[in-house]
C-alpha cells in the first residue's frame, strides 16, 4: 500500500527551481532513502512533504489524503513525524519535557481542564509521563531525563529528537541526515535503532549522505539532482545507474 505519494511536486524560490516536478511514492512499512549531491533539493523536498514549506505546484498525498494545502501541524497529526538536519530541540526544556511536548497531540485536554485541574487533565498527564519515560528508556536517555536538552551530547540530542518524533506513534518518520557528525561506533548503534523502529511497522524515509549506511539500511533509494528525480530503485540498481554516477562524479560535487 502506498503511504506517501508526490505528483509533479515543485518548489521555486524566485528563479531557482529547488524541487522540480518530483513524482515518487513510498510503500507503507518500507525503509526508503533519498540521496543526491549537495544542493539537490533533498531537505527542501522534506520541507514540502512535512508542509513546513508551501509547494509552488504539484500534489502530496499522504495516507490516502491530499495534504498539499494543509499546515505542518495538521499533517503531523495525520501521522507524519520528522527530524531536522540541524538537530532541533526545545533547548532550555528538560529531556523529559521535550518528549512530553511530542506526546501532546495524543491528548485532548484544553484551557478549561488546565484551569480547573480536571480529572481528564490529571489522567492524561499521568499517561503522558508514562509514555514519555517509556520512550526515554527505549532511547537510552532515562538517566538524563531532567537535564536541559541543550546540555546533552550531540549524539544524545539526536536520539532525543527521534524520541520526540516517535512518541506520537507516527505512521511515517522523516529523518534528515541522522548520521551527520556521527562516528563509526555510534553509527552501528544508530543503524540498529533505525532498524528496530522500522521493525515496529513505522515507514521510514531517510535523507543521508553516507553511502554505506544508505545502501545497508534502505530497500529502495531515490536520487535527486538539481531538484529532479534522476533515478529510483534498489541499492544495487542505484549503484550501477549511469545517471547517478554522472551526477556524483561528473561536473559538480
Amino acid at each position: 500500500m502506498t503511504l506517501l505519494e508526490t505528483r509533479g511536486l515543485s518548489k521555486s524560490f524566485g528563479g531557482l527551481r529547488a524541487v522540480d516536478g518530483v513524482d515518487f511514492s513510498v510503500t507503507a512499512g518500507s525503509l526508503t532513502g533519498i540521496i543526491g549531491p549537495n544542493g539537490a533539493g533533498k531537505t527542501t523536498l522534506f520541507n514540502l512533504i512535512s508542509r513546513a514549506l508551501p509547494a509552488t505546484s504539484g500534489q502530496i498525498v499522504f495516507d490516502g489524503r491530499d495534504v498539499t494545502r494543509l499546515q505542518s501541524h495538521q499533517v503531523a497529526r495525520r501521522g507524519m513525524g520528522r527530524t531536522f538536519q540541524a538537530t532541533t530541540l526545545f533547548a532550555d526544556a528538560t529531556t523529559l519535557e521535550n518528549v512530553l511536548v511530542g506526546y501532546r497531540q495524543r491528548t485532548t485536554s484544553g484551557l478549561f481542564d488546565a484551569m480547573v485541574r480536571s480529572g481528564r487533565l490529571a489522567r492524561e498527564e499521568r499517561e503522558a509521563e508514562a509514555a514519555a519515560r517509556e520512550s526515554l528508556k527505549s532511547a537510552d536517555l532515562a538517566q538524563v531525563a531532567d537535564r536541559p536538552a541543550k546540555s546533552l551530547t550531540q549524539e544524545q540530542q539526536k536520539r532525543l529528537a527521534m524520541a520526540v518524533a516517535l512518541v506520537s506513534r507516527p505512521k511515517m518518520l522523516l529523518l534528515d541526515e541522522p548520521f551527520a557528525g556521527i562516528n563509526a561506533n555510534q553509527s552501528r548503534g544508530l543503524i540498529a535503532l533505525i532498524e528496530s523502529i522500522a521493525a515496529t511497522g513505522i515507514t521510514i524515509l531517510l535523507i543521508e549522505h553516507q553511502m554505506q549506511v544508505v545502501m545497508q539500511l534502505c530497500r529502495r533509494i531515490m536520487v535527486l539532482d538539481y531538484g529532479k528525480k534522476i533515478a529510483e530503485g534498489t541499492p544495487q540498481e542505484i549503484r550501477t545507474d549511469p545517471a547517478v554516477l554522472d551526477a556524483y562524479l561528473g561536473g559538480h560535487a
Binding site: S50, R77, E97, L111, D113, V164
Partner: protein, 302 residues
Amino acid sequence: MIAPIVALAIAALVPLVVRNEYYLQILTQAYVFAISACGLNVILGLAGQLSLAHSAFFGIGAYAVALLATKAGVPFWFGLPAGVLLCSAAGYVIGSICLRSRGHYFAIFTLAVGIIIHLVIQKWESLTHGHIGVIGIPGPGPLGPLTFDSSVARSYLALFFLALTVAATARLMRSPIGRTLMAVRESEALAGAVGLDVMAAKRMAFTISVALAGLAGGLFAGFIGFLGPESANVEMTFNTLLYVMVGGMGSLSGPVAGTFIVYGLSQVLAVLQHYQMVIFGLALVLLIRFMPSGLAGAWRSR
C-alpha cells in the same frame, strides 16, 4: 509553591498593619498593575511574542467600566466582566490578524495597533470625552455582606484578583498548554512538526494576556474613579514591560515582584519621579544586557 503562599499571607496582613490611606492606595495600584504585568508575561514570557499593544487593552477595559457606568448606569460588577469579555473578543480578532506576522513585524504591528486604539480613545470625543476623560466612575458596589468603599476593602479586592491571576497562570504554566507555549517560544518549526497548532497557541496566549489587561483596567477605573486617555498609551505598555523584565519574564512571580519593586520604588521615592523614565530606560537596557532573566533568573542560578 511555598513562596507565593507565604507572600500572599504577608500581603493579606499588610492592610491590617498599614493604616495610611496613601500607602494603601499605592498598594492597591501595585496589585492592579501586577495583574496587567502577569498578562503581558503570558504573551511575552510564555509565548515569546513582544506585544506592544498591551496597555491599549488596559485602556479598553478601563473605559468599558467607566463608560458603561457613567453613560448607561451599568454597575461595576457587570461592567468589569463586560470589559474583560470585550477585550477578549477584540484580542481574539486582533490576535488572529497580528499574529500572522512574526518577530519584529509583530512588535511593530502591535505598536501601531496600540497607538491606533489610544488615538481613537483620545479623539473620539463624543464617546470618551477625549482629553477631558471620564469622571465620577462609581466603584465596586456591595456583594452580599461585603462592601468595597474603604481603601482596605479595595486593597483586599485587588489582592484577591491578583491571587486568582497568579493561580491561573500557575495552572496554565504547569499544564500541557503551558508546555505548548514553551515549545512555540523555543522553536515554532519543531512545534509545528510535532503537531502543535502554533497560531492557535499564540492566539490563546494573546487573548488571555489582553483579558488580564482588561481586568486590570476595569479595576483601575473602579478604584480611581476617573480616567483619561493616557491609561491606554504606549508609555504604560513600556512601564509594564519593565515590571516584567525586572522580575523575570516567563517566571510565575517575576511580574508581580517586578511591579512591586519598580512601581513601588517610583512612588515611594519622590525624587525618582522626576528622573523616573531616565532610570527606567537605563534599567531596561542594563537588564536585557546583563540580566535578561531578571530577578527570577538570578534567583534560579544562585
